[in-house]
Structure formats: structure tokens, C-alpha cells
Symmetry: C2
Subunit: 393 residues, 2 copies
Amino acid sequence: MKWTWVLVAVLLFFGGVSLGKESLDFPEYDGKDRVHDLNAKNYKSVMKKYDVMVVYYHDHVGSSRVAQRQFEIEELALELAAQVLDEFDDEDIGVGLIDAKHDKAVAKKLGLEESDSIFIFTDDEVIEYDGELAADTLVEFIYDVLEDPVEIIDNSRELKGFENVEEDIKLVGYFKSHKSEHFEAFVDAAEEFHPHIQFFATFNPKVAKALELKLNEVDFYEPFIDDPVVIPGKPYTEDELVKFIEDNDRPTLRKLQPHNMYEIWVRTEDDIDDEHIIAFAEESDPDGFEFLEILKQVAKDNTENPDLSIVWIDPDDFPLLLPHWEKTFGIDLSSPQIGIVDTDDADSVWMDMDDGEDLPTVDELEDWIEDALSVIIFSLSNSDQCSFKSQHH
Amino acid sequence: MKWTWVLVAVLLFFGGVSLGKESLDFPEYDGKDRVHDLNAKNYKSVMKKYDVMVVYYHDHVGSSRVAQRQFEIEELALELAAQVLDEFDDEDIGVGLIDAKHDKAVAKKLGLEESDSIFIFTDDEVIEYDGELAADTLVEFIYDVLEDPVEIIDNSRELKGFENVEEDIKLVGYFKSHKSEHFEAFVDAAEEFHPHIQFFATFNPKVAKALELKLNEVDFYEPFIDDPVVIPGKPYTEDELVKFIEDNDRPTLRKLQPHNMYEIWVRTEDDIDDEHIIAFAEESDPDGFEFLEILKQVAKDNTENPDLSIVWIDPDDFPLLLPHWEKTFGIDLSSPQIGIVDTDDADSVWMDMDDGEDLPTVDELEDWIEDALSVIIFSLSNSDQCSFKSQHH
């Protein structure tokens, strides 16, 4: 071990002067305007000033009081984010607004098609953020954007860290060195999906052996599935990797998180005609943990089924939405729930689970999901509407 | 298996009407005033109206613009919390303010001594909340308050859920049934610490066997330590349990979380003359995970050392504080860090770890901590100030 360390203790004990909680104080908006209104005249010069530009391409704000207030709160969140990012040393990060009515032309020039989203412009990528418009979630996402797109695994402890990542899609490749052209293709592919998908690589033969990876081979892991798929046809070009990932970007089980919630909810690839299978389970609660284990087993058994995609929501991640969900869906979220939700009108059906007293087995859950999926498909084949009732013994 | 289920599908496919993101929309403050200003005249009648009352006993707001703005933001967070809790079906939950200058007498009558904290009044307990004043964190804490103080473990999957709880102090007891007087004493003790400490019980001999628990025995688990301490002297009275927990309420390693951050930071029992050993490690990052594994091993090796208490902070939990910490402490939080922080003046010293390229071994970390602690103790013995330099080979 080559590292050395110096302990320089300049611990001053004057006493009496108590600043108490200061070093833990949350920043509060200091009132300085940092968010830029971007328009045809200024957008080039403003964006040139920053290494990274965060642009909220928002719908035009109507004249109603509710719309005005909502936009004020959104602006305040962006101002707080801009203030925190202003203090961040590593990069100059700017925040701006583009109005979808007045400045559609600017958005078009920047290549933005869809409004009501946040776009992060870095050196050579534009990354969409489709999560909660809250300062902390957005800022955390931007830190992730700024990190290297590929994380290197050097030893067995870091390998445990890699194994611990289960909530996102992840890939890991084994390459000769940083200079390998195959590693470079892997990095280029990573940049296309970063930070939504996690990319790891190792140059260490022992780590590669533990992962059962051959040289220049890349494994693809679905969330919550321990066994990877070996991407066929190594070594790969960047395009081959990108295509494989795009073709497999619909996991059997995925977690709704504040930073990706709208992306998961509204992406058409991820639902079946606007229907989602939603499972609520609080991981920190024994019942919720138990149900989640069952769900993971179902996902493992059905990873080949292209029709099955379950969205897991941990109510702990969304405390402010909990009463709203309980009311909208007519369910009690103090115990696990699984159901089908129509994302258009929030109509839903839920499995009857006796308030979590007696959770279903893996087989029972699979039967229920199969019936539920067939109801969806049956509904799809009826153009108007349908009402369907099924009773399981 | 006795559960049955009904699948009633009333899935309407009118199409065209797209409400899109609606069921995921975060609630926004609707402008209705729900937070009560409590004073000598109204506090009794207001508090009688609710099952649970959340009271922010705040310092009097000064006349400066910054103080006024800060309090407005706090009020807005409480209004949003009140609005969400208003929608919550299970209990009537009210929110109120007590001004520490104008209404000290009211606070005194309610038994509140310390201002600048939030107190939650339930049927028979007053629970202090000393976390972030943000609507989501506060609301989440209140949901925890409303849950049963003791969670029952029925089967091996729930046992896995119990084992998965590692960030908080937890206790688990084995009792004959709900009606056992020893279980009742356990519940009474749980109510004293709920929800800050987690209490579990089982009535299932198989679960008890897996936990190596004898009848009426209770095990005490420090955070991040797999092996429990058997509380001596079973069966216990409520007072015996309370005393044991109070005597052991200073873990070797604990995690700073938004809902307990100020409690951990300023509680005098938890630091050594206002010094904290702070470790920053991002669990979702391989380096951070690796360092955390080392920290857990150090905690395990030193669980008997009453002087050692390490506070682990995952930067992911506090994105808005990250640049502030990097500046205040002069460190780079993109890799793991460990140091000693003076909570009074935020002076600090940090271990030199080569930007996480080469993490210390468990032994090296223990040596550093030992030196660091001796510096603190050395400093304590010098009344004025000290400057100390140590060089490790």
C-alpha cells in the first residue's frame, strides 16, 4: 500500500462561540436572480458562458392564478438549483428557461422537440431530465450527468459495490486497457445513455473472472435480475452496443424514482396502450420487503416475456403523493398493493390481498398478472369499452 | 392459502382524452391556510380538534428581510405538509406554530422546553422531530409516527426484511402471544422511542429459532452490526428495557438522514466535546461502497469502544448541501472522505486518501481514527488551543 497520510489538526477550542447547526444548514434561496430567460437574441451568448446549461423548455404559462403560482414555484426550485450549482466548483453550470409559445424557434434551433421537460446541454450531449421538478432531485441528477459515463471496477470490494446496483439497467465490460479501441466504443455507447443507464468496466482479469467475462465481452443486466445477458457478437462497435441496449430497454421490473418518474410513466414504449402494472411496496417494511422479494422472483421467471413490465413504487420515495394515490386508486398503501393503472384516466384495478396479512405466492401472483394482461389485451381488441370480471378460487 | 381475489376490470378506452401525467402530479400548495397560530386563547380548542397535532415551536422571527423570507419558506413547507396530511384518511392531523417569544407560556404548558424544533402530539406521546424542515421529509416522518411501534415478523421472508434494516437501531423480541405481559412491556418501551428506534417481535418459534432468541428475550442491534447484544435479565419490565436502550443509544456507526440530521449533529451525547468523526461515502458508487464496507468492519471491530462514534453521510441524500460542504471542509466529495469536524466552528481535518484511488485498509483506518481520537483528547486537555501534526510512515 502506497498511500500516506498527514493528520494536521488545527482544532481550535475557544469555546463559547457556538454556531451550532450551521454546517448542516440547508441553503435557502438568497433572492439573487440566476435563471436566464432565453430568447432568440441572447441564447447563444448566454449558453457560451457555461460549461453545462440546464434548460427548462416549459409550456407557456396561462393567465390563471393557479398556473401563475405553479410556475412561480417551479422558478423558485430552479433558482435554488442554480444557486447551489453556482457554488459547485468543478464546472460552470447555468440555468435557463425557454417559453414554448414565444421562443419555439430557439428550442428548435437547439434541437428540442418536446416541451415540458428539462434538457441538460454538456460538451457534446443533450440529456433529457424527466423527473420531479424539485431542486434536490434535479441537482442530484446533474451531479450524475457530470460523472464519468463509465465506472471502473478494480477489486473485489468494488465488485460488491457493482453487484449492489440493482435498481437501474447496468452493463459491464472487460477490456485490455483504457487505450483499447473496444473500450473506447463502450465509452461512446455509454455517453448515449448516461446517466440513465449505468456502465461499468474492468481491466482486471480477476474481476473479469468473477464476472465470467471474456475479453472485450459486455454483459447486460436488467434491474433486479442477478443473471446477465451476454451481448452477442463481441467485439462490438458503438452502434452495435447502442442497438442492443435500445432493443432491451424495457425491463420486466423497474423502480419509479423521483428523477425518472415522468419518463417511466409516460413513455409509450413502457406501457401497453397506456396501461401500467404498478406494485406498491415499502422496502423498509417487512411486508413490503416480502412482497418485493416475490415480485423479483416473478420478474426473474418472466424476464423473457416482452409484454410484462412492472413498475415498482416505494411509497417512502413519494410521501407527498401517498394520500393522493390512496384516494385516486382507492387503496391502502400501508400494505403492499399490485394493480393495473390506466395512465390516461387513472382508472385502476387492484389485487385483493387482505391488507397484506397473507401475501400471494409467486405462482398466485403470476396467475393474477397473466389474467390481468389478458384483460388488457381483451380490452384492446374491443374498440369502445369493456367490463370484465374474473373470480379466482 | 386462504386469500381470494377479485379482478374487476372497468378499463375504459375512449381514447383521445389524455390526462397524461396527472396521477403522478405532485401536489402544489393550493393557497388555503391550514397552519394554526397557536396562542394562550386558542391552543386547547385547536388541539382538541385533531387526533395528531404537529407543532413547530419556532424562534421569534426577527425583522430582517432574510429572517422573514426564511420563515416564509418554512411556513410554505408546513402549509404543503398540512395540505397533504389533510387528504390523509386515517387520522385528523393538524399543524400549528408557537412563537418562542410571544407564546413561551403555551409551549411550557405543553411541556416543550427547547425551541426551533417540531413536536408531534399523539394520544399519549410527544415525539420530537429534529430533521430537515421540508414537507416531504416531515410528512414521511409523521407516517412513521402513525405506524404501530412494534412490527411483527411472521415468516422467513419477513425475517429477511428485518435483516435488511441496518441503518437504525433495532430490537427484536420473542414472546408467547400478543397477550403476554412481557410483550406488553416491550410495546410500552417501544412507544418511548418510536419511530426513532425500530422494534420488532415474533410469536413464531421457527423465526425465534432462526434469530437464536429464547422466550421473552430481546436482542439489541446497533446500526450496521449483524451480531446483536442479548439484553440481560429476561423477562424485562418496561423500565429495564428503556434504561438499557438509553444506556446503549450511541452507536459506533450511524447514518445521517434528512429526518434525524439535526438530532445527530447537535446532540451532546453523540459527540466528543463538539467533535464528530464524519465519513462521506456514496453507497451507489463502487468506491463509496468499498469505503463503507471498510467503515462497517471498523465499527464491528470497535463496537465496544465508547469513545468511537462515526457519522456516515451519503452525499446522495443531501445534494443541496454538497457544494457547501465541499467549500466549508475543503474536500472533494466525488470520492470517499473521513475527517473530524468541530460542530461549533466547522473546523475540520481530513484523512488523505489520494482521491479514493487507493482506499485505506481496515487496519490503516483504525490507526488513523485512533490517532484522531487521541488528538481530540489531547486537545481537550489543553484549555486554549492546540496545533498537532502527525506523520504516518
